[in-house]
Symmetry: C2
Subunit: 397 residues, 2 copies
């Protein structure tokens, strides 16, 4: 691979917030030309503006894109999009279901104008079929309906979300995956496709352990904090260290024997209470007590290094400051510290889609709202200065 994998692909990115924009981020960092299309107000996160949490996410997710405005509520804006759709490879969006169809610029409309076009959407529930196809969804509501909250939290405590917006990001990753699958298929067939990603679908498989435990028990197990959802594995928990916490998991008998060595108590590997997975699950409190007694005597860094040196799966619980300055993310080139106009130095991500053959492109700042409108419209829709002026007066761009 001597060039970026999506070199030569042109995309119109109608993404908003996290889901769609993350897809556009992956496309742009994979070498596609990604044109972010915003309303005249700017995308939701840009509009929140100023020194806000949104401004961090906006910088993170919209690097390496060009930015144009287009008012799809106007006839002129719709016409412009149709002209551009004939010239590009991909149009994607994560609007409320039916938004693009309502304006006559949905998958059916645009693909009729360009049979090679890939039209992709990601919504809470997918738009193809089913009672919730028109329903709105965001990360927190998908964590609710897809079962994540019911299994997260402490025994006896309320259902909890994780503050990691993973429903959004896993859907955005699937959106990228669907688009690139369709691009690959088009190489053979010459035909475009309509990609329909449902956040609810994407979250479902992440329940695997909990759902398996539910089928084994015949009922849902109580929430298990940091333990195995079915309490079927031990050690599998978060343990106190002198300076915070560490996570340790043993999924095979060999891991337990190695942990006993790491703890300096090889004789425990012979203790009949703990020999097999079933034995340790039956003595889960004693296992956790033994491991905790070891971890409470050491720092996270000591435990991490000792455990990994012994082949034990372990890591420190890091806070955000530590994550933003993680030595591995920096050494790997995954995270780069960059100046942000409101927030100072921020940790920005390069694509997780890494190839040993080629490095991802350098990160760029997000252009101002509409910065690339004139140039892109000239190029993709043949708009000259006079027409641009008319479009601006009509609030179309």
């Amino acid at each position: 691979m001597k060039t970026q994998p999506l070199d030569g692909v042109t995309v119109l990115d109608f993404g908003q917030v996290y889901n769609g924009p993350y897809c556009g981020f992956l496309l742009a960092q994979a070498g596609a030309r990604v044109i972010k299309v915003e309303s005249l107000m700017g995308e939701t996160l840009r509009a929140r503006g100023a020194k806000s949490a949104a401004s961090y996410a906006f910088a993170l997710l919209n690097t390496n894109k060009e930015c144009i405005t287009l008012n799809i509520k106007t006839d002129a804006g719709q016409t412009l999009l149709k002209r551009m759709a004939a010239e590009v490879d991909v149009v994607f969006e994560n609007f409320a279901p039916g938004t693009m169809d309502k304006y006559g610029i949905g998958a059916v409309d645009l693909r009729a104008l360009n049979p090679r076009l890939i039209y992709a959407s990601s919504t809470g529930y997918g738009v193809a079929a089913g009672p919730y196809r028109d329903y709105l969804g965001m990360d927190i509501t998908l964590q609710a309906i897809a079962g994540v909250m019911s299994i997260t939290g402490e025994d006896g405590g309320p259902p909890l979300k994780t503050a990691a917006a993973f429903a959004d990001f896993i859907a955005g990753t699937h959106l990228y995956a669907g688009i690139v699958s369709a691009l690959f298929a088009r190489e053979q067939s010459g035909a475009g496709a309509t990609v329909d990603i449902s956040m609810q679908d994407c979250v479902f498989p992440t329940l695997a352990t909990a759902m398996g435990s539910y089928y084994v028990a015949g009922e849902q197990m109580p929430r298990a904090g940091n333990r195995h959802p079915g309490r079927a594995l031990a050690p599998y928990n978060v343990y106190e260290a002198t300076d915070g916490h560490v996570a340790i998991i043993c999924i095979r008998e060999g891991h337990w024997r190695k942990l006993c060595l790491a703890m300096g108590t090889p004789e425990l590997a012979e203790d009949e209470r703990f020999v097999t997975t079933a034995d340790r699950a039956a003595h889960i409190d004693e296992v956790d007590e033994i491991v905790g007694a070891w971890t409470r005597r050491h720092t996270r860094a000591e435990i991490f290094a000792t455990a990994q040196a012994h082949g034990v799966i372990c890591a420190p619980v890091q806070n955000l400051d530590e994550v933003a300055h993680d030595p591995h993310l920096l050494a790997r080139g995954s995270v780069e510290m960059r100046a942000h106009p409101q927030l100072g130095e921020i940790a920005q991500l390069h694509t997780p889609l890494r190839f040993r053959d080629i490095d991802p492109p350098s990160l760029t700042d997000v252009p101002a709202l509409g910065h690339d409108t004139a140039r892109v419209l000239a190029e993709l829709a043949g708009v000259d200065d006079a027409e641009l002026e008319r479009l601006r007066r009509a609030d179309a761009v």
Copy 2:
């Protein structure tokens, strides 16, 4: 798109547990021929066997695959893999870092035999560079080191994981995305690639809201339960209903006005305490009290229907039983009830990569360990009956 997008692509899937096997699941459901390669003991989840949570996940993730055994610790097994690698498009694995290299069958070795080969791996930290490149990782330890636990849980409570194994699944999705990106690139260049996915990289962007709030505040905010990580949006929480809980989020002023209508209290939209996002964030307890007073009078289903009818982003907190029988997942064809030998009827997933142009293939049962060994080795490595017998005696297959 008249055929499955990856029709004609052949893959050797060395996946274990969730991360790799989910990638193989996506490939198989996208039409690739996926050959699951297991040790003579069987893959970790198969080996756990019997009526366990693992047996659910094993069925879920290994549908539509062929199953062969191969002992990569033997010379004969390594030779066989080299012969097959010359015939296939993709080899991927999520072993401990360096496993394949140790046996002389890593990316460099196999790509030297087949310049068109795509070799892909997913590990805790990526294998290209950095101090943790050789370290072991699993979902719970990645949730720890990548910051997820530090932002999940209640204010004053301990750091918590989510029981949704999203670090594994988001990495498996990226692994698929990296492979298909490389397949697309190969259509132009004819050259293969080495894909290097780090779970840590994949989790990083999911912190967007929390990391943004950290930069705004200049320090990490206390854990916020189900509220916005920076307490900058309201309503944004989980509220009690008569029969459980619902999640509601308002990210724009319009959402709040619509919620006021849905609650039957349109006058609240004019209340000066709640007009703007900043106003509501400043009165977050009052906002939550008002919304909770409404939700406590209704069932989850009533709130869900009323809210969505008004354009408010809302969903019920569903338990696993409800998720497994979710009317939308069933109507959309995302989930299908299938018989499992140990667990009875289980909810199995079709691919979340959905195309309006074509349905995914029917789900199949996972073949028995080594069920397809003879046929696949004959086809991809020219192994005849006599050689197969020698290989079996040498514990190579």
